[in-house]
Subunit: 617 residues, 2 copies
């Protein structure tokens, strides 16, 4: 298949268009904004979906203490909802104060200094990766609860979902919002239905239906220690990750952005409270305990709806909302990374907006990191949970503490009240952070605690590099040297043919001082080439360099280093390169031009030019 | 770690030296020659080692017919040895006629034409890959027979061995010969010992010791069909692959090469006959039948030597000789590939001699192909055997037929006798080839039969490409156009800084017509840049190209296509590239130079120059 340069690029852009959608001009930005319902679907699915695993993770800790601890889930879930209420009030203030998007990084940096901002940002980035990994893993657990036949391929499914999300997000945020509105409403509706039906069933028939499962609980009388309760609380706190997403992304709402975002935040908290407490209550009433192959929500749904289509509806809704939750990370991670990139703390490419106005590089990076994590733990939610929530509570605390200073600085009419609200938020989240870090420390939280300073170190190294580059590129006191440089063109040749003569003709256009170099492995070939050269290119000197070891690049470099030994000597190396008609034919030509290129990279005052010889057949 | 260009290349060459050994100058070639014993070790280990599986593969076919067939192994093995005798006499003539190395490709091409030569070569290449795969797989089977604990990781072991062989061969042939002489002698000695001890044991105690194993044989009375016997014969013929290696590699022997090679060939055949018939005889006398987890040789050794260290010695010797056999392929495959490369039928890079005077690319290619094959069949010898021997008997036949014509052409004193010997060889191997192809057809031989014409097609496509390139590069009737070209230098810029100014200074040295191009995503940035440009580079025009979709390369290409629209216009694109101090810092800069490079590859009359700006901190 012969493809010309023009139609080739046509094929690529056509493929790009099919996969990524039409390119969007920068002026389209406002039209890409979301309605409140769209925003809720895209940003609030993370906390809402955690209903699918938060109760289960609390129970997994409590069953360690035997039956004695089984009265605790409901009070613990209420405590977590109390924490949510404080966070919601706190963050609604942040939304109003930072309408341009009050990410923890911005708030902490502006009020507590750069270092605090970077700590918050690293915490957020880590937890976005975990959100993607945990949510997709939990989605697959919900799926395999309903269809156990899929259990052996759960890792493959999880990774496929991650790369599907990557593709969707590379297409842009509006498409995602539209695509994902229905499943969120569907999940909320079916879960409210499940809770109402469950309560009804319990009132009518009592808990007998689920009674037999409690037989599996460890009945040994063991004390319910405070530490155990705190660990269960910490496990449940995974439910709260992601509540900050709305405050981070005020700008994706339609105007008036502030009011719309604050309202969406409140709705999210109310729905979240109903679902989390409801599910925990039902699990308690039906004496449900965690099982390895079936999630707690699936067990509840089986008790309430038995094997009707409604049971499958619950599972499918759970899968879908969890996929949306993972999607929250795909919206948050690239945004935080892009802000850090603009400030030069991570590679600047993370701030490039792609053809569909999204931060493409961040999206791809998140998919890869979460994919690796899912692969390493073999798609097990329980193994990921101890790593979770540390980072996000770190950024909660720093962000709220920053808000206290913000109000103090502004000293507005109601500053004391506002500062008190955020101060309360900071204290509560700091306490929760301590509980999470201590109780989960040996189970994996240490890794995250180690990762934060590591990330800080990397951020600072990168920042220093960019600063030094800017300094070195600065035109402050710089002037182009006026003394003209000597310019020599050197052509490494391997034979005398059309491509060589074309390169020579090109080189003569560049400079009066052109030299050809032949690296000779044996004398006979060298003599033959010399004769041919004298005949076809009598006006350009040919230098023959001996190479007893049959190497090509290093003998050439030795020659080059002699030529460029003078400080005022500029050298251009001109290499003729074949461009075949078909790509596969590239395999038939040694890629020595490439080797020369890399070898010359570290040499000063050497420019590298490739002259293409286009084969036509 | 700051590493200068000089010490960096020092580290690399040091590492290369450690892994690959000292570089060898071309003049060392004669010293790399092998003694007869060395040649036997390197080249004859393939047929010798097939004793480890050939008997077993015959038995696997015969047991299908029940006990009735169990008297046939010894006669079949004698038939195969008869074939070996004819081949040996035949090939000793080839060695004398082609002292420069009488590979089937050379002989068939010279006497039967190019097409026949290529068929022979493709058959050889295929069978070298299979030799490496089968031998390594059989080595692992011998290992896991003695140490069943290693069975679960057999695929990993096999692939590790292949890459170990690759490394050894990249170091050069002499090292390999020396390293491998001892194991060959060890194998021959211990196998002769095993056969003698086995015969002794049988004479003294009869076959009682092994009697119980025959209970597992299918006792149903079923006819021993001719087809079944032919299939068993075909399976046993796997033993003969590799006997041509000595004739292919006459030049690796010390002078007088011809005599030494012919003598080594004879010794190989004698040893081979003793071992193959001996092992088959013992298997028959001790009523041994194939088992899934233990090889036949291992079963014989257990019966004869019981659980003494001698048993383990047999297994270890078998493992070692099989590894040597795989090594035969590493010596043969790159040689055949390099000859084909010189003639332009496979990529020419396969003919490049590496730093240690070996065909490095062929060695690596073989390791990869055999590794993939071993991985696909899960390191099972029995699954590989049906693919085996087709290719090599094809090349035997063509090579012997070619020899007949060779004698006919020369018409020397004894030409009729010589032609008769080779003619007999050709007929016998052609018959064997037919038997192998037909009886193994449905078991996988069809794949190989399909592969040969595919390989031919590819060879011809590659050959045609090289021919067309040579034609297009030919200086026949070519003259450099005398009318001078217009030369314009275009610099894509992203900002005004030192690297930009350096690139501009360089460009001005190339041509009087220099233009800068800025691809603008928004107007404000463009205006800012324009002002800065006017201040610092007043003498060079700046073109601003709008890019509403934030793309960089395609708007630039559109501009470039306007500039180069004239047939007599030559364009050089100069791109400033950062070279940071540390390699990791490359990640922090967008690789747009690379994108430009690829985009410009297919455009005519455009040269691409990168000017490096070296960061110092």
């Amino acid at each position: 298949m012969t493809v010309s340069a023009e139609s080739r690029s046509g094929i690529w852009s056509g493929l790009g268009q099919f996969l990524l959608g039409q390119r969007l001009p920068s002026s389209h930005e406002l039209k890409e904004r979301l309605s409140n319902l769209g925003g809720l679907a895209v940003l609030a699915s993370d906390p809402l979906s955690s209903v699918a695993y938060a109760t289960e993770e609390m129970l997994l800790v409590l069953v360690l203490a035997g039956t004695g601890a089984l009265n605790w889930p409901v009070p613990l879930s209420l405590a977590i909802i109390g924490l949510l209420a404080i966070l919601t009030i706190s963050y609604r203030q942040t939304i109003r104060a930072y309408p341009q998007g009050g990410g923890a990084y911005n708030v902490a940096r502006e009020n507590l200094g750069t270092k605090a901002g970077l700590v918050a940002a690293s915490g957020l980035l880590i937890d976005y990766v975990l959100t993607a990994a945990v949510s997709v893993t939990a989605a697959v657990a919900a799926l395999t609860s309903a269809f156990p036949v899929l259990a052996p391929v759960k890792v493959s499914i999880a990774i496929t979902v991650l790369f599907f999300l990557m593709a969707v997000n590379l297409r842009g945020i509006k498409t995602t919002g539209r695509l994902f509105t229905v499943p969120t409403l569907f999940f909320v509706a079916i879960m409210v239905g499940l809770i109402l039906a469950g309560v009804g069933r319990f009132v009518l028939f009592g808990s007998a239906t689920g009674g037999e499962t409690s037989a599996t609980v460890n009945n040994a009388v063991s004390a319910v220690t405070i530490f155990l309760l705190l660990r269960a609380f910490a496990a449940g706190c995974a439910a709260l990750t992601g509540v900050e997403a709305i405050a981070n992304s005020v700008r994706i709402f339609r105007p008036p952005e502030t009011r719309n975002a604050a309202r969406t935040m409140l709705w999210m908290a109310i729905v979240m409270a109903v679902l989390f407490v409801g599910v925990t209550y039902l699990a308690h009433q039906f004496h449900i305990v965690p099982r390895p192959n079936e999630t707690v929500v699936s067990q509840i749904a089986r008790v309430v709806f038995e094997d009707t289509p409604l049971y499958y509806a619950v599972q499918i809704a759970t899968v879908l909302i969890l996929v949306l939750a993972a999607n929250t990370a795909f919206s948050g991670f690239p945004r935080v990374a892009s802000v850090l990139g603009q400030d030069g703390y991570v590679p600047r490419q993370l701030s490039d907006t792609g053809r569909r106005l999204v931060f493409s590089n961040g999206i791809v990076l998140l998919a890869v990191l979460a994919g690796v994590l899912v692969f390493v733990v073999g798609a097990s939610v329980h193994d990921l949970i101890p790593l979770y929530a540390v980072g996000v509570f770190l950024s909660f605390t720093l962000s709220q503490a920053g808000m206290v200073l913000h109000w103090h600085r502004l000293k507005g009419q109601t500053w004391l009240r506002s500062a008190f609200v955020n101060g309360l938020g900071a204290c509560v989240t700091a306490t929760a952070l301590l509980i999470i870090a201590i109780t989960k420390f040996t189970h994996g939280a240490w890794l995250i605690i180690l990762l934060v300073p590591t990330a800080l170190y990397i951020f600072n190294r990168i920042h220093r590099h960019y600063e030094m580059v800017a300094e070195q590129l600065s035109l402050e006191g710089f002037s182009t040297p006026d003394t003209p440089m000597k310019h020599t063109v050197v052509i490494p040749v391997s034979g005398v043919h059309r491509a060589t003569l074309e390169a020579v003709a090109y080189a003569k256009a560049l400079s009066a001082d052109v030299r050809a170099v032949y690296v000779a492995a044996d004398e006979a070939a060298a003599e033959e080439l010399r004769a041919k050269w004298r005949h076809y290119v009598p006006d350009i000197p040919l230098e023959v360099v001996q190479s007893p070891y049959r190497l090509v690049v290093s003998p050439f470099l030795r020659y080059l280093d002699q030529v460029r030994s003078d400080e005022r000597q500029l050298v251009t190396v001109v290499i003729p390169e074949f461009v075949p008609v078909h790509l596969w034919q590239m395999l038939l030509h040694s890629q020595s031009a490439w080797m020369f290129r890399v070898a010359l990279l570290f040499r000063r005052r050497v420019a590298f030019t490739s002259v293409h010889h286009h084969l036509t057949r």
